[in-house]
């Protein structure tokens, strides 16, 4: 799904290195780039080579993408930091698996901190998108390429192995005509009739480095104003809301439906952008919702962003399963039920 959507979004350069569970995406990119004939596919010798190829393709003006899974994404972090520093657009897909270390290949959300806190070194941010369905994978892949170009920034898509296996009908956006994309005046493309350009991130002069850091920061403020996005599901009359993203949100939605049938007033808040975090939307909910249950497939990483958004105005609870174990909607429904009654929410 991501593969098809990426091609339709004008991705014309892909570099990757085999790693489970995302080899299907690499295979898809290999086949499609071959079919469309004006796209380039490279199987690199390592993840580090792949991200640096993406850096090269991006600075030469192509819409470029790489993908991997958790340990491979760790290896790409130096390159992602460079993309941010140089303001080069690129899309990076992380099909998360259990960690830390080699971990396992089961679906996980253990890379939330790595994704939203930068992952690499230095003062920078990465736009992070967290789809929860096949359709959204397709839609957000398009969005990812658009944001990457618009904000000249790396954009990270967080998925997991479970999403790859979803069999759902998907409507893909129309393919774009790459030749009609706006001209990128900053690329390296031959210095004909203009002074030559240099793309570098080595700024030995602290004043110059500071200038770049503040310039990036101003951009991040703009992004924080413009793109935060979340889905609110049955939250209008809710006394309690589950907060979850990606695969966890799908499981949580099933649980919400179940407890609704039991008459519990429960909703779901699903962040779609993990950075910038949809703080304002969440804070709005806290006007009428006193208890939030964060559910993640990790030991509780997003809890920090939830607490920062709510600024102590509501109670934040957490339930999670790390290491690639997958909760069932029933399990979450039970958690909700217990919490609901413990907090005496039925009386409100």
């Amino acid at each position: 799904m991501i593969g098809e959507a990426a091609i339709r979004a004008g991705c014309r350069f892909y570099a990757g290195y085999p790693i489970t569970p995302q080899n299907e995406l690499t295979e898809y990119m290999a086949r499609s780039m071959d079919n469309i004939e004006d796209g380039t596919f490279v199987q690199a010798e390592s993840e580090i080579a792949a991200i640096n190829m993406v850096i090269g393709a991006s600075m030469a003006g192509a819409r470029a993408m790489t993908s991997s899974s958790s340990p491979g994404i760790s290896l790409k972090q130096e390159g992602i930091s460079f993309l941010a520093a140089q303001e080069l657009p690129a899309v990076i897909v992380n099909t998360m698996r259990g960690g830390p270390g080699l971990g396992n290949i089961a679906p996980s959300q253990g890379d939330y901190f790595q994704a939203t806190r930068g992952g690499g070194h230095g003062d920078y941010r990465t736009i992070v998108l967290a789809p929860d369905s096949g359709q959204e994978l397709a839609d957000l892949t398009r969005t990812a390429f658009e944001y990457a170009d618009k904000y000249r920034s790396p954009v990270l898509m967080l998925a997991d192995g479970m999403m790859g296996q979803m069999m759902e009908p998907v409507v893909f956006p129309e393919p774009i005509d790459v030749s009609l994309l706006p001209h990128k005046p900053w690329t390296l493309g031959g210095a004909e009739g203009r002074p030559s350009r240099i793309i570098l991130s080595l700024l030995l002069n602290p004043a110059k480095q500071e200038e770049l850091n503040w310039k990036l920061e101003r951009k991040y403020e703009t992004i924080t104003r413009e793109i935060p996005k979340a889905e609110k599901y049955m939250t209008d009359d809710a006394h309690l809301a589950v907060i979850a993203y990606g695969t966890a949100a799908r499981i949580a939605k099933g649980a919400v439906k179940r407890v609704r049938e039991m008459g519990l007033k429960v909703g779901l808040f699903r962040p779609i952008t993990l950075w910038p975090y949809p703080k304002n939307d969440l804070r709005d909910l806290s006007r009428h919702i006193r208890d939030f249950l964060v559910f993640e497939m990790n030991t509780g990483q997003m809890v920090e962003d939830v607490k920062l958004s709510l600024e102590g105005k509501s109670n934040v609870h957490f339930y999670g399963r790390p290491g690639g174990t997958i909760s069932t909607p029933d399990e979450i429904a039970k958690m909700i039920n217990t919490l609901y009654h413990r907090q005496n929410l039925e009386e409100e």
Partner: protein
């Protein structure tokens, strides 16, 4: 059959029936047994891949680390405790792809370790992509038109870098492979043993039959001290040659160049701190 010192007893082995790795495992355990290596004095370090699972099936000390990084870990194990016999083991993707940079620099550094590379000319664990050693034209679901890159010739690279021991074996030949591993482990310095290994599931080109037809041993009179002859044989021979290509016994080992081992070989973790020397050093800095 009598249980050898490196045998695990009844265990589940996660390899396909007929996989070349079984032959390598038997030859490795046989070689270590015949050399009289004690399991408690051996460490096998590996990365990730089908080949890198091998140490799981050997009763000894095992470090199963990150993909591509077995060689630097093995180098440091030996440098921290030179009394151990250290083997790094992995596949062609692990050692030559992800770990390619380490491979080259370990040869330069020359630690006294044995590097065993199971070369099945494919990425098996990730289900059949081309590896650095896949032949030109090799088709996979990712290399849809076939591989276009020149295969990585590890033997030629090692000889070019003046590695201290360079050999190639074939998993189908138990006795010769065992013999080569014995020589490699006994050798002092970086020893490469590349073992051609049929992968029956993901490489339908380089099969047992193909390896039989496309390999040949160096003749008995071949002299492995001649580096130029070795390079010529690594690059120009019609068939992939098997046996010892090159030995250079005169290179100093990395551990021997490390100051802690000038006088004694006690492992670092067993040494007592010389308080006088340490505080003397701290004081000397203070005065500055």
């Amino acid at each position: 059959m009598k249980k050898g010192p490196f045998d695990m007893g009844q265990i589940d082995i996660a390899w396909c029936p007929g996989c070349g790795n079984f032959g390598i495992l038997t030859a490795l355990k046989g070689a270590l047994t015949e050399l009289g290596v004690r399991p408690e004095k051996l460490v096998i370090a590996s990365g990730i891949g089908q080949a890198a699972k091998t140490p799981h099936y050997v009763r000894t000390n095992v470090f199963n680390g990150l993909h591509g990084r077995a060689v630097p870990a093995a180098t440091a194990i030996k440098a921290a405790n030179p009394g151990l016999t250290v083997i790094a083991e992995g596949g062609d993707g692990d050692m030559y792809g992800e770990g390619g940079n380490h491979f080259i620099h370990a040869i330069r550094r020359n630690p006294d370790i044995t590097v065993i590379v199971h070369n099945n000319m494919v990425y098996a664990l990730t289900k059949g992509q081309a590896s650095p050693t896949s032949s030109i034209g090799f088709k996979t679901p990712v290399q849809v038109r076939g591989v276009t890159e020149e295969p990585f010739n590890a033997i030629a690279v090692s000889v070019a870098l003046n590695a201290s021991f360079v050999a190639r074996a074939f998993a189908g030949d138990h006795d010769q492979t065992k013999d080569i591993i014995k020589k490699a482990v006994s050798h002092r310095g970086f020893a490469l043993v590349e073992i051609l290994q049929p992968c029956v599931s993901f490489n339908k080109v380089n099969t047992y039959q193909w390896f039989k037809e496309n390999t040949a041993y160096h003749e008995a009179s071949y002299d492995p001290s001649d580096r130029f002859a070795a390079f010529k044989r690594a690059t120009e021979a019609e068939k992939m040659l098997l046996g010892i290509f090159y030995v250079n016994p005169d290179k100093p080992c990395f551990e021997d160049t490390l100051p802690p081992y000038y006088k004694e070989t006690t492992p670092l973790f067993k040494r007592r701190i010389d308080g006088e020397k340490l505080f003397g050093l701290i004081d000397s800095r203070r005065r500055v």
